[in-house]
C-alpha cells in the first residue's frame, strides 16, 4: 500500500439566493434605471443626506422618509486599483472607490473608469483622492447599481 498518496475531495458550492432590496434600495435602483438620477434620504434629526439611501439613520436611530435628489457629480474620497483577477469581479485593472456626490453627506461605493490603469505608476497620478468625477450612465439600464457604468474624471 502506498501510504504517501493523499486524496483531496473536490467540491463546489453553487447556492442560489434571492435578496430583498426592500423599499429604499428598490426606489434608488429604479430611479437609476428610469430617471438616470441618484437619490438619497435626509435624516429628520441630524439632517444628513445619506447615500446610498437606507430606512433609518444609524447615528440618530430614527426612520428616514424624505427623499432628496443629489448630483451625479462628486469627489473621490478614497480608492484602490485592482490588478489581481477575482472570481465574479471585473477583468483587471479596474479602480474602485468612494465617491461623495454633491449634495450628499456620505460616499457611494463605485468604479472609477475612463482612465488608463495599465501601469500602476502612471495610474496613481491619474486617479487621486479629491479628484472630481461624474457618472457615466449605461444605455441599457436594469435597476442595478451598475446602471452607472463607472465614474470618470470630470471633463474640463
Amino acid at each position: 500500500m502506498n501510504t504517501e498518496e493523499l486524496i483531496e475531495v473536490q467540491e463546489r458550492w453553487n447556492i442560489p439566493y434571492r435578496h430583498s432590496a426592500g423599499r429604499f434600495a428598490s426606489r434608488f435602483l429604479i430611479a437609476l434605471r428610469d430617471e438616470k438620477k441618484v437619490y438619497g434620504v435626509r435624516c429628520p434629526r441630524c439632517k444628513r443626506v445619506l447615500v446610498p439611501p437606507r430606512p433609518f439613520c444609524e447615528r440618530c436611530f430614527v426612520q428616514c422618509t424624505e427623499w432628496v435628489g443629489v448630483s451625479d457629480k462628486g469627489t473621490l474620497e478614497g480608492f484602490t486599483i485592482s490588478y489581481q483577477a477575482y472570481v465574479g469581479l471585473p477583468t483587471p485593472p479596474y479602480a474602485s472607490g468612494l465617491i461623495k456626490l454633491d449634495g450628499a453627506d456620505t460616499a457611494l461605493m463605485h468604479f472609477v473608469g475612463g482612465v488608463d490603469l495599465s501601469d500602476p505608476q502612471k495610474a496613481k497620478k491619474a486617479v487621486k483622492i479629491g479628484m472630481r468625477v461624474e457618472a457615466v450612465w449605461k444605455e441599457e439600464r436594469l435597476g442595478h447599481i451598475l446602471d452607472i457604468e463607472h465614474f470618470r474624471p470630470v471633463q474640463k
Binding site: 467540491e11 444609524e58 477575482y86 465574479g88 460616499a107 500602476p120 496613481k124
Partner: protein, 390 residues
C-alpha cells in the same frame, strides 16, 4: 465585579497553505492537544469550550460540529460549547469569550479554540466578498484587501507614506517570522525584493499581503485559584475589550486613521491603568494582515503620533532589538488562518509574558498587548496580558 482570570495554556500548530496530511478535526486536535500538554490538564478538566471560525472559508457552514470532539472531546463528554464568529476578529472575540466565561464566575477552566482552513478555498476573496451587502456594494469586491489598499492610498495621500514604508513593514515581519516555527511564510525578504513583487491592489503588492493559511490555536483560561495550581507562570488578563463601527464604508472616508481602534485603545488602557503605552507595554502582537495596517496600528494604539507610523518602524523601535518589539511572531502578514489569527495574537502575547516564546522571546516582558481587526476593518479586539497579578 469580574473575577481575576489568567491564561494558563497555549497550543499552536504548524501552519501552511495546504496541510493535505490531516483532516480539519486533526488540525484542531493538534492545537488543543498542545494546549493540554502545556498545562498537563486532561479533557475532563475543561468546564466549557468556546470555538471560533469564520465561515465558510473551510467550505463548512458549521465547522464546530465536525470539530466538536477535537475540542478536548467536548462532544462525547457532553460539554457546553459556544461558537464565535466576528469576521477577522473571530479569534480575538473567541479569546474574549473565554475570558468572560471565567471572569463571570460561571466556569473555572475554559478552552478557547479557533481553527481555519483558508487553504481549502480556491479563491478566498470570493468568500470575503460575501461580507458586503448585495444591493449597493457587492459588485465592487471591497473584501479585506481593497479596504486595506484604500487605507494605504489615503495614508500616502494625507501623510506622505511611501511604497518603501509599506515594504519595510513586510520586511520586518518576515525577519521576525524566521524565528517562529509556527509561521507559514518563512523566508528572508529585502525591501528591493518586496517592491518588485507584483501589484495586487494599488499600492499593495504581493509582499504587502497575507497568505491563505491552514492553522489553529487553542488557549486555556482559568480562574485565579485554578490558574495558580495549574502553572507558576500565568499570563493575567489586565484589560480587554471589543469595539464595532457602522456598516457603510462610505460613511467614514478618513481611511488614513483607524479611529475605532484608537477609541478602543483609550478604553482598554484606562481600565488597565496604562498611561504611556509606548513606554509601559513591552511587546505588542497586532493584527497586520496588510503592511499598511501595522503603520495605522502604531498610530491608533498610541505608539506614535498620527502619520508617524512609517518613521517609527524605520527607527527600529519596533524591531526585536527596539524598545517596543511589535509582532515577534511575524504577524498575520506571514500566517493567516483567518478565524484563528486573532487567537494566535493572544497566544503569542501570553507566551511572551510567560517567558516561553523561545526563539522569538523578548527579554523581561511584563506587559503584552494583543489585537485583532475584522468586519471590513470596522471591528477590533484588544487584550492586555500581565506577568503581575492585576
Amino acid at each position: 465585579m469580574p473575577r481575576r482570570v489568567a491564561l494558563v495554556g497555549v497550543g499552536l500548530t504548524k501552519t501552511a497553505n495546504r496541510r493535505k496530511d490531516i483532516t480539519y478535526p486533526e488540525l484542531t486536535f493538534e492545537a488543543v492537544n498542545n494546549a493540554l500538554s502545556f498545562t498537563h490538564l486532561k479533557p475532563e478538566d475543561i468546564d466549557a469550550v468556546v470555538y471560533g471560525s469564520m465561515d465558510p472559508f473551510d467550505g463548512l457552514s458549521c465547522p464546530e460540529k465536525w470539530n466538536v470532539d477535537s475540542c478536548a472531546s467536548a462532544g462525547v463528554l457532553n460539554k457546553p460549547l459556544m461558537k464565535i464568529s466576528t469576521g477577522g476578529t473571530t479569534g480575538g472575540s473567541t479569546a474574549l469569550a473565554g475570558y468572560y466565561n471565567v471572569a463571570s464566575g460561571l466556569f473555572d477552566v475554559v478552552l478557547a479554540v479557533a481553527s481555519q482552513r483558508v487553504g481549502e478555498t480556491i479563491d478566498a476573496q470570493q468568500v470575503l466578498n460575501t461580507c458586503l451587502e448585495p444591493c449597493y456594494e457587492r459588485p465592487f469586491g471591497f473584501g479585506a484587501i481593497m479596504i486595506a489598499a484604500m487605507q494605504a492610498t489615503s495614508h500616502m495621500h494625507y501623510y506622505g507614506t511611501t511604497e518603501e514604508d509599506l515594504a519595510r513593514v513586510a520586511v520586518q515581519n518576515h525577519e521576525h517570522a524566521l524565528n517562529n516555527p509556527h509561521a507559514h511564510l518563512r523566508f528572508k525578504l529585502t525591501i528591493e525584493e518586496a517592491l518588485k513583487t507584483r501589484m495586487i491592489s494599488w499600492p499593495l503588492k504581493l509582499a504587502d499581503c497575507c497568505p491563505s493559511s491552514d492553522g489553529a490555536c487553542a488557549l486555556i483560561f482559568a480562574s485565579e485559584e485554578k490558574a495558580e495550581k495549574i502553572t507558576s507562570t500565568p499570563a493575567w488578563i489586565k484589560g480587554a475589550g471589543q469595539i464595532t463601527d457602522g456598516y457603510y464604508l462610505g460613511d467614514r472616508t478618513w481611511y488614513h486613521e483607524w479611529d475605532t481602534l484608537a477609541t478602543l485603545a483609550r478604553r482598554v488602557y484606562k481600565s488597565a491603568k496604562i498611561y504611556n503605552p509606548f513606554k509601559e507595554i513591552d511587546v505588542a502582537e497586532v493584527y497586520t494582515a496588510f503592511s499598511i495596517q501595522q503603520i495605522l496600528e502604531y498610530e491608533a494604539l498610541g505608539f506614535c503620533e498620527k502619520g508617524e507610523g512609517g518613521k517609527l518602524l524605520a527607527s527600529g523601535a519596533t524591531s526585536m532589538n527596539g524598545s517596543l518589539p511589535v509582532c515577534p511572531s511575524g504577524s498575520v502578514i506571514c500566517t493567516n488562518p483567518i478565524g484563528a489569527s486573532g487567537l494566535i495574537r493572544v497566544g503569542e502575547a501570553a507566551l511572551q509574558v510567560m517567558g516561553k516564546a523561545e526563539g522569538r522571546q523578548v527579554p523581561n516582558v511584563k506587559l503584552a498587548l494583543a489585537h485583532a481587526w475584522g468586519a471590513t476593518i470596522g471591528f477590533h479586539t484588544l487584550m492586555i496580558l500581565s506577568k503581575e497579578k492585576p
